[in-house]
Symmetry: C2
Subunit: 190 residues, 2 copies
């Protein structure tokens, strides 16, 4: 998506070791108009799948997942990383490595909000190694839901996440696909 | 706001000790249409203040803050509770008690995204004791910003947060004000 790529080139910071800082418009500070445009684009690409729920992981996934859900007219569920006291004792829980925290984090969903037979569209901010998204896939499967599509704002194709997700046999879409971050340059796939 | 109150009466669960569970439409699972309507209503109530930025705290504040920012056409910043590696070493940090976690949490903002002279509108999901919102006020003041208004989806007036915020002399708006949660009933102020 042109707007997102232009913003990454203008404001994204390559911190080295594959870390792209987009704190000015995706994480920490969010540009709501850009996020709405991204949600609209995801909605356009995934509308034909008949998803009944958008699934994401707190924290940075919430903004793009919410705007996508808004355009699709379906609810969004965000997996929690800490179990709040309002959640029942019996939950779906899996572990996934956090790229920016440098440790494993829990991903937790209440069975109340992911039912057997639901069609789940997973939306997240980044597709890097695919580990977080695979964690969400495991949660959806544990609930008896079917993952029908996966979308990420920014894909870092050199980290191999798409290969990891391919066996699922569902469409995987990213709005900005970075193929290289060598040196200070950021190169997109097209 | 009628839609929000009706939803609280229909789906909110009074878990006792002042805990209102709204995990089906505000926390964990989010109804994007309701959240958009709430953002539109906040925008209507606060438009005259000339806010330049919406400020909230991760995690549950993100959805209503994002839709408010979308309707106001200004960026939203969410205070982080864990410092990500993309954040600079020098930050604004304060402590606030977490109602649902039962401990103190850090609220952290990067100086990159809250500047001297900004007009800040604080939006959060709950106004209870006011402690989290006061934490956000301290961060805004540390940055040399001016808090111009405070909005919460749900106010629990019996926890006294409004009294705590009154000395700030800015408008405080809630879309559903609960005056009592005695027994299993939820009573609104009007």
């Amino acid at each position: 998506m042109r707007e997102l790529k232009e913003r990454i080139l203008k404001e994204g910071q390559n911190l080295g070791e594959g870390i792209l800082k987009v704190d000015g418009f995706v994480n920490h500070q969010v540009d709501p108009n850009l996020m709405d445009a991204c949600g609209k684009e995801f909605s356009r690409r995934f509308a034909h799948l008949g998803a009944t729920k958008v699934l994401t992981a707190e924290i940075s996934g919430i903004a793009p997942a919410l705007t996508t859900a808004l355009h699709l007219g379906i609810p969004v569920v965000y997996a929690r990383k800490t179990k709040p006291i309002t959640m029942p004792d019996q939950v779906y829980l899996t572990l996934a490595p956090s790229h920016t925290k440098g440790r494993m984090v829990e991903l937790i969903i209440s069975p109340e909000f992911l039912a057997h037979g639901e069609k789940v569209l997973i939306i997240d901010d980044f597709l890097a190694s695919g580990a977080t998204i695979l964690g969400l896939v495991r949660l959806a499967e544990a609930a008896g839901s079917q993952v029908v599509g996966i979308g990420a704002l920014i894909e870092k194709s050199f980290e191999g996440g798409r290969k990891v997700l391919e066996p699922l046999g569902v469409p995987v879409e990213s709005l900005a696909c970075i193929v290289s971050m060598e040196g200070s340059r950021i190169l997109f796939s097209d």
